[in-house]
Symmetry: C2
Subunit: 396 residues, 2 copies
Amino acid sequence: MPPLPQGYRLSGIFCGIKKKVDKLDLSLIVSDRPASAAGVYTQNLVFAAPVALDRARTPGEGFRVVVINSGNANACTGDRGLGDAVEMARLAGAVVGASGEEALVMSTGVIGNFLPMEKVATGIQMAAAQLGTSDAHLDAAGRGILTTDSGPKIASRSLTLGGREIRITGLCKGAAMIGPNMATMLGLVFTDANVPSADLQRLLTAAVDRSFNCISVDGHMSTNDTVLVLANGAAGGSPLSGADLAAFGKSLTELCAEIARMIPADGEGCTHIVTLDITGCASAEAARTIARSVADSPLVKTAIAGGDPNWGRIVSAAGYAGIPFDPAKVGLRINHVELYRSGAPIPFDDPAVAKTMRENREVHVELSFGEGSDSIRFWTTDLTAEYVRLNADYRT
Amino acid sequence: MPPLPQGYRLSGIFCGIKKKVDKLDLSLIVSDRPASAAGVYTQNLVFAAPVALDRARTPGEGFRVVVINSGNANACTGDRGLGDAVEMARLAGAVVGASGEEALVMSTGVIGNFLPMEKVATGIQMAAAQLGTSDAHLDAAGRGILTTDSGPKIASRSLTLGGREIRITGLCKGAAMIGPNMATMLGLVFTDANVPSADLQRLLTAAVDRSFNCISVDGHMSTNDTVLVLANGAAGGSPLSGADLAAFGKSLTELCAEIARMIPADGEGCTHIVTLDITGCASAEAARTIARSVADSPLVKTAIAGGDPNWGRIVSAAGYAGIPFDPAKVGLRINHVELYRSGAPIPFDDPAVAKTMRENREVHVELSFGEGSDSIRFWTTDLTAEYVRLNADYRT
């Protein structure tokens, strides 16, 4: 791993929120100086207490710490849950000599249960005692936020702006193979760039629109989905602006896309990761809506699991997305072979395309429209019998 | 079966569109006198040729015959497909001494292939030679429209209006276990009531909103979905109006709901049929949108397959439906046991509820909102590993 952004220390520990001792369940990310912060949150009307807390605080300045627990989502817990989130922020602030208002909180795991606050308090103390900047610290922080993920999802970027090195690191969690309780997606990005919170919010929103909003496993939006970004300015210099700010935003988007893609890629039950390129649309939003309709169709997902270049399922899933288009201008390629052109199927070597699908975990689908010049890249999984088994039979 | 509506004759035959000789693949429904007709069609932008033809002709008067083939959907077939649908209508009209404009057409099956018009022409001749009014004729007509269905889906109603007996019979097709190509849903209702086409269209639209629009297997809207209704007035009397028309409409809705429900109930791979009652909403449309979000969530569907009373998956699926509601007013019952009240889970006998889910094919879910007085009843299936196997592995 490249070096961490300057001015941050991290840790991840086990404090008994989860049942298994070999799993970490609490992470702390501390900025040694006040950082600006921005956030993007679930649009679910049923949202968890930490979402309520962070949403009220971001975008904003002066944050010193983020505390994240796994194993309990603190969702559907009412006023007591909100009080627990506030207390969790206070405890995290206290260990770095800051107020509760200078902390942000994320939770993921079982919903409908109250947080075990004694364990959380002990855990925050333990995590504070183990803060550091090594690869091992980053790895531990990455593990403390996981639920059913097979391993930590971490990536870094660095770029030089105005002669200064800017570093960005991101962690996320979320499993293609959705666990027993929730499909929560959490992301935390931290950078030593100097970016005021208003700019940071604008750049994060744009980055999420090309990354975390472009992945789908099963279309189920959770109560806890959150992506936060911290920028502490430890790299030095005045606030980024103009071309430098744009370059930082581009790097942030690339980083978010890199870690977001790890979510659908992490499905043990999944046998394919599908990259959908939706091109020639009137807007990126239109392209994303079509992508989501195709990505969430069980008929498309099972066809891909079965290695079937089934153009009919893909084209018809686009047709009910609710986005207007001229069907006579639609084209489709799977693994770079053209199957459909100008609104009609064309002859292709079906067994050869099926073979490329069966023999590769990566599948590339390009669906083109003649409606404009906007496009989106979207990632999803196939749907396998193993997915169903894991999500139906976990009680037995 | 009760007697057919007066003035209709039916048949269903095999003419070689399907490969298997033991499956019927063409049905004819003839009205001995001109009938009014109404239709409701797929909203998919990619729609089949018969949909284009029927949509242009309904609502309208003077129809004599409906011809339906299975095994080939005549979809994604361009101008030649539209010409074939027009020719199919002409052939069906000709055998009853009517013009092509007096016929309606439906097709279901494989998409992207041209109709085998010689077989269709021969089939229409064969079907015309076998028209009749017995239970066997009705059964054959019901079988000629099927694809992966396990058997015909037929129901009848009768009611007395103004001293006259009115009969209504409906056929439909559509399989919970979606076949290799399309999840097409077709419905045909015919009655001897005297109802002008404008009234018929209004009543059909309302009936479909409470029946065929309230079922979901996998949320994939096909290129061919069509529901038609014919009313030939053979029961006698002047056009229905006022309370009589409303009573007819109520009966039409009940009949449509009865046959529509047979679609999710017909899943070999499915182990549960789920009745969703969404109550206390500001509008029926809002209730239906929430129902669809819950019904299409793979996490909800797999939980039901696994016999898990997972309130979190159900409540959170409602939360991302895009319909505003106050989460603090939400309540949930599964199999009449209360799990969630005023926006929070409540203690319940989890193993007992799980047992009722495991031991019964029928599952009842009631999700209540404090937003208004409108409600909807919606039917869906669970999601099983067998569903995935059938839809992924059919090539091998």
